[in-house]
């Protein structure tokens, strides 16, 4: 464990103490602060992108949530009661979606992402939520830093801290949660930690993974029991037995092995997979994740989210906002 993590853990203890103390007296609720409307919002840092039916919804810094009804050509800023960095967005159907972020905020929309309300926040935890997943419009889970795990069974009216369901004594960050076809749920996190659940998140099993470094996310492929986990320095592993055994996937870039961190992935309608990450990395697999072609955009921009269109073209988000890209990840001219 490095020095930073140590200091973080130390201060977390103090933070939690302060939170308990603060929770005792309910001070006046501060006036809700909405994100500022800005025509630069679509060029600000955007972290994640999701589909709400035909609509695209992207979230990012300063409480920015943007939606597009024309495949990313133009973006409209949603009204959002937050100015924090939002880290993930998930839509259970075309209308109902959730976004999570710093201050442990959980925001919800029931109109396809146009307006949002705050369901939960706890700034005193000093820890962000990092990913969110919903089974349907009622049951969902959110994961985050220092082993945070929250659950709702009523569409977010109540969120419950269920971190104790995980065997995570060192309180490693939980970076991603994903559903695996025909198998269950999978969580990955710091120091290669991974957990699986076969009962929709009620009980979790700790797994010894193939990798010591941080894993930033997981994604179930088109095949049953099959998933990919990805993380630091181009580390990518595939399992076809719900995480019991793993194969490392070698990634060859233009100048040797890919050394950039991988941040996010998406499964396209035709079953192909796209991964994005730092250094403008865009990876594509058409064999269910057994091998990937690697492209590094010349702008070397850090990417953290991707969505695919029916025709295979991509919409990328990350530093500098949303970008249209070809199927390989190269820049596509904005019409």
């Amino acid at each position: 464990m490095n020095v930073f993590t140590a200091s973080v853990l130390l201060s977390l203890g103090l933070g939690l103490f302060a939170a308990t103390a603060g929770a005792a007296d309910d001070g006046p609720t501060p006036q809700t602060v909405y994100s500022q409307t800005s025509n630069k919002a679509s060029h600000s840092l955007l972290i994640d992108i999701a589909k709400a039916g035909p609509r695209l919804v992207a979230v990012g810094e300063r409480g920015h949530i943007l939606f597009s009804d024309d495949q990313g050509q133009s973006w409209t800023q949603a009204r959002v009661p937050s100015r924090q960095l939002l880290t993930a967005v998930y839509f259970a159907d075309a209308k109902h979606g959730w976004a999570v972020g710093h201050d442990a905020q959980i925001l919800a929309s029931s109109d396809g992402g146009a307006t949002w309300s705050k369901q939960f926040e706890d700034p005193s935890r000093e820890s962000p939520l990092l990913d969110v997943w919903f089974q349907d419009t009622r049951h969902g889970l959110a994961v985050g830093a220092y082993g945070s795990l929250f659950e709702t069974t009523d569409g977010g009216a109540h969120w419950q801290d269920v971190a104790e369901r995980l065997d995570n004594p060192d309180q490693y960050h939980l970076n991603g949660i994903a559903a695996v076809k025909g198998a269950g749920l999978f969580i990955v996190g710091e120091q290669g930690s991974m957990f699986r659940s076969r009962d929709a998140g009620q009980t979790w099993e700790h797994l010894d993974g193939p990798y010591e470094g941080s894993l930033f996310g997981a994604i179930g492929t088109a095949r049953a029991d099959t998933l990919l986990v990805y993380g630091l320095r181009g580390n990518l592993y595939r399992s076809s037995d719900f995480g019991s055994t793993w194969q490392a996937i070698a990634l060859q870039g233009e100048r040797g092995a890919l050394e950039f961190g991988l941040a996010s992935a998406t499964l396209l309608e035709d079953g192909s997979l796209v991964l994005v990450g730092n250094g403008g990395s865009v990876l594509r697999s058409t064999d269910d994740g057994q091998s990937f072609s690697v492209f590094n955009r010349p702008d070397r921009i850090a990417l953290s989210g991707v969505s695919g269109q029916a025709d295979g073209q991509l919409i990328l988000v990350g530093q500098g906002g949303a970008r249209l890209a070809t199927a390989t990840g190269a820049a596509r001219a904005q019409p």
Binding site: V3, S38, K40, A88, D103, P123, N175
Partner: protein, 798 residues
Amino acid sequence: MSSQESFNMQHNQDKASLLERLIFNNRPAVIGICVLVSLFLFWQAMLIRPSTSFEKMIPLEHPFIQNMIEHRNDLANLGNTVRISVEAKDGDIFSKAYMETLRQIHDEVFYIPGVDRSALKSLWSPSVRWTEVTEEGFAGGEVIPQTYDGSPDSLEQLRNNVLKSGQVGRLVANNFKSSIVDVPLLESYPDPNDPGRQIKLDYQAFSHQLEDLIRNKFEAQNPNVKIHIVGFAKKVGDLIDGLMMVVMFFGIALVITWVLLYWFTWCIRSTIAVLITTLVAVVWQLGLMHAVGFGLDPYSMLVPFLIFAIGISHGVQKINGIALQSSEAENALTAARRTFRQLFLPGMIAILADAVGFITLLIIDIGVIRELAIGASIGVAVIVFTNLILLPVAISYVGISKKAIERSKKDATREHPFWRLLSSFASPKVAPVSVLLALAMFGGGLWYSQNLKIGDLDQGAPELRPDSRYNKDNAFIIDNYSTSSDVLVVMVKTPTEGCSVYKTMAPVDELMWKMENTPGVQSAISLVTVSKQMIKGMNEGNLKWESLSRNPDILNTSVSRAEGLYNADCSLAPVLVFLNDHKAETLDRVVDAVKAFAAEHDQEGLEFLLAAGNAGIEAATNEVIRSAELTILILVYLCVAVMCMITFRSFAATLCIVLPLVLTSVLGNALMAFMGIGVKVATLPVVALGVGIGVDYGIYIYSRLESFLRAGLPLQEAYYQTLRSTGKAVLFTGLCLAIGVCTWIFSAIKFQADMGLMLTFMLLWNMFGALWLLPALARFLIKPEKMAGTQSKSIFAH
């Protein structure tokens, strides 16, 4: 002394004033005193040095500047840096030859006195490192490792290291075709020979060293590199070099004036007498400037030129008068005395008018303008002694050549077709046309001068010409690096150790976003920028963490590398706002946005203060200029009008003299709008100077016109007689003044060129306005039949 001479003396004494008697009865004493004073002041003048004191060019009383000065030490790191960009003409920087040249430049710069060696930064500095997040935490190393040997492999490694170092856009150009040597400077450094002593950095010497030791040397040594140098020290060095050129202009103006003067007088003796007495005036002025503690800055450098031109013009009036008197008087002394008697008062009035114009400038709270005003006032006061007193005394000894006297005698009687033609400006047919034309020009000028802008309008360093080497270098760096040369700094003030707490940093983050959403802003950086990057770095480069942390320890750790973005006790953090340009509307918008933000977010222990940075100073200067512009105009016109009223005791006369000046001011504004010159520190004084000096013509012409009208001549004939007697002198005066300042148009310093252009225009057009419009207005405003035979109420009446 012959009896004839003593009789004349007696005769002269009768009408002579006390002053005249005092001067002309003690001629050797007058000369002697002047020689002694000149010797002393010449010695003083020799000691005067160019000064480019930064503080004198800015409005010290403005709240922005007060804030800046109060926190100057906390902002030290933002300041004085020179950046040398080394460009590879062919290929990119990853070649053995390029890297070798870069290393030699780095080493050479290291040894230039005044360089802060510990902070010198280039790709060759050990402090320039790359970092990477690995499973074990951070990994890193020097961008150019110890093993570097220039081989293709090590160049490839260098390329990778540069990419990982985050220096692209900072030390390395976005297109990898150039890289920067970042040279922080020390304002003063220990004397190598006497370590106890501090030497103040000499910007001019430093700038020359950069040219000789870096640019010339290495461009010759490696033909594939081109060197670009920018920074405050280089700019000031170039400015001082530009000032040196101005000395040459003075020589040119001197020669042209000498030729013109000879053409005017046809007398080598009086030409030399006028030139010498005028140069004495300049020496006195410079000497007095030094004696009262002023240096020569790029603005007050105009003063010797003005004094020279004003001195010459008064000298010409004197010579003109003496030549006319000489044809009647029996000797030079009598001619000189009579001329003195005749011209001393109008000369004093004209000089007073000049001085009044200059004095109004004192209300502008900018040091250089005040020094200009004081210097010019001293200068015109000196002219009273040199050209109104010393010159007639000198001429009384040397006399005027026969040829010149003959000519002026002939001129007095013969018909002048040119003046006859001009006199039709006063005719009943031409005058209405002239007035209508003037009205049309006035309206057109007013309409066009709506385009007039406040402040500096050009890209780059406004002091230098857009096509100067410095500004080309500056444009190169702006184009190739992620940087702008226009920076407005907002100072965020907190209690000690308060700069890095969440309560401070979250509003700073909001301010930055507000700034970035303000049109004209490119980007903003502060310790928040560094903090977010560091927190992301601590979290393995994961973008989901690129945000401020509420945890105080994390936040504290995250700003530890934000050197220069907070002060020693963490009570002040600058927010650097990079702008597209420094146009007034851009600055206004940004300043307004910051003020609105501060009004909303200022609270106990957190203050957002405007402003530092070059754009902050310009914003403050613009505010001062804007508020002073109208005041100056009103004041200078009020003063001039009052002067005219006192002189002529006539409302009509005042209008005849002042209205042509108003037309000139309006057209001058339109010209500025047309030439893209903004109202700024350099051009604001021009208004006052132009009006103050321009009124001379009107005073000279009207005083003669009035005397002819009282003699009973009809207007047009009276005007013809006026032109015949003073027209030539007025024309010549206008030319002299214009020549004195027009050489400035060729100055390497942009604002001097602007001043030269505007003053030349105003002085010439004021002359033209006096010759053309004054008689036309007189046609409407003055009733000659009422004036004929009456006693003048003007103070010129005897």
